[in-house]
């Protein structure tokens, strides 16, 4: 079949070019497709709003630059809601590559938008090696595990650390995570052991495996990927970078779906042609 034969040895760089165009164009000329807020994102929002005003919150931003587009928007939106409720927020980062980008996200909201004071209204404790062992170590006191903050200043003397001392003093644990260590480890080592209320925002790759935790109530809400971040922006009345990226996401998904279908149709066509040719032989 001549039509099917034209795709033989198809140069994949044409596919790359189509992906490039389908993602780039909607970013410049948005389609404004309507966004629907799913129940897990709504539950995340409801759990954050249910925190009493002025409460202490631990936010662990466990990601690096490889997950920026999915997780920074949900980090910022969460911080905006928490600071609007006058919560005292302590931020940690358990990923090597992450403390710098996490600090920029935190300060852009805390200092840039809300004009809060580092060490009094919020604290960024920075990075600590050790994955789960840090999580369990923090159970004996956050300042115990983090003697210095992100900028190298002692944490024991900080006013915020006098009230946000350990897991018993926080109203909520917010885990924004890109993988290991992340939400799963926080659920296993902290939520299960210390019974803290917990919500999670995560990359889309990780989201499916956290649905069992959502169903069991170990997680009170879940934001999955850029779509989750966009939904949370929507439910809080914002139009941020995640929302603006969803049109490009839509077209790219349709293209990948077309690729799957086209690739299989081509395979079936070729198989039928081969079978027909074999039958026709003497």
């Amino acid at each position: 079949m001549a039509g099917a034969g034209r795709f033989e040895g198809f140069d994949r760089r044409w596919l790359f070019l189509v992906v490039w165009i389908l993602v780039m164009v909607p970013l410049v000329r948005p389609l404004m497709l309507p966004l629907v807020v799913t129940p897990p994102a709504q539950a995340y929002h409801d759990a954050i709003e249910a925190i009493p005003d002025g409460s202490n919150v631990l936010l662990s931003a466990d990601y690096d630059p490889g997950a920026l587009p999915e997780l920074v928007p949900m980090t910022k939106t969460t911080l905006r809601r928490l600071f609007s409720k006058r919560c005292k927020v302590v931020v940690t980062c358990l990923w090597n590559g992450g403390p710098g980008v996490v600090d920029q996200a935190v300060r852009s909201v805390a200092e840039g938008e809300f004009h809060l004071t580092d060490g009094e209204d919020f604290a960024h404790l920075g990075y600590k090696a050790g994955n789960e062992s840090v999580m369990v170590l923090m159970g004996q006191g956050f300042a115990n595990a983090f003697p210095n903050d992100y900028r190298g200043r002692p944490t024991a003397a900080m006013p915020i650390m006098q009230r946000v001392r350990d897991y018993g003093s926080i109203a909520m644990l917010v885990s924004i995570s890109a993988g290991y260590p992340g939400t799963k480890e926080w659920v296993q080592q902290v939520q299960a052991r210390f019974h803290v209320r917990m919500v999670s925002g995560c990359t889309a790759v990780s989201a499916p495996e956290y649905y069992p935790y959502l169903r069991s109530g170990q997680l009170l809400g879940l934001l999955g990927g850029m779509a989750g971040a966009a939904e949370y922006e929507r439910v809080t009345g914002l139009t941020g970078p995640a929302t603006r990226g969803m049109d490009a996401q839509s077209l790219a998904h349709v293209f990948v779906a077309v690729c799957i279908i086209a690739g299989n149709v081509l395979q079936w066509t070729r198989r039928r042609a081969a079978a027909g040719g074999a039958r026709g032989q003497p």
Partner: protein, 254 residues
Amino acid sequence: MRQMAWAGGLLAVAAVFALAGFTRGFSVTLAAALTLCIFSFLYKDNPFYKFAEHLFVGVSAGYYIILNFWTVIVPNLWDPLLATFKGDVGPGNAHRAWWEVVFGAQLGEYRYWLLLPGLFGVLLFTRFVPKLAWLSRWALAIIIGVYAGIKTTGFAQGDLVAQAEDSMRTFWIPGDVAGSLNNIIFTLGLVTSLVFFFFSKEHKGALGLTARVGIFFLMVSFGAGYGYTVMSRISLLIGRFQFLLDNWLGLVRF
């Protein structure tokens, strides 16, 4: 002709960079240049990509060394040891018994006990000397012991007990047919998927049929996982394009 097209294209790219560098600043232009160097791999492997790739590996390795030194080794090991030493050589300690000075510890203050993790950390570097490499196993033993212990209890409590507890759901919720049906399907999927992973008996007969049903549920979960993985990867590309369009070219505000 082809060479002229290549030269023209490169000149155009250089002109865009020069203009952007002039208007947006050297820092952003450098970041954009490195971004495009890596994207150039999509056409084919080339010296620009190789340069960026090796620079990235080197910068990452150097970053991890400095990060772990200043954020862990210094505040969690060096500072407490130094404070302990200074405190013990100060006045007023002459009356304290030696075992109290050396071994006295309380939560968060481990005094000279901290010499142990310092020593084991240094022992890790014996891996560079083949004759002494066996000493690094002692340091590894600490890490393995701690992680084996906390992972065992973490998985048991968080993944096994809590999940099994939640799985005991009623099959009939009065007034909620959809919810009841969902619970039945959920339990069917859970049990059949668990049976699939039971390999102590051959999957034949009733067991085989049950495992086969489980396979279909597992395939649905893998398909859902694939769909979410596609979303994740596309998101990362969207993020880079947002950087190029907003921070570098200033064409769109995100």
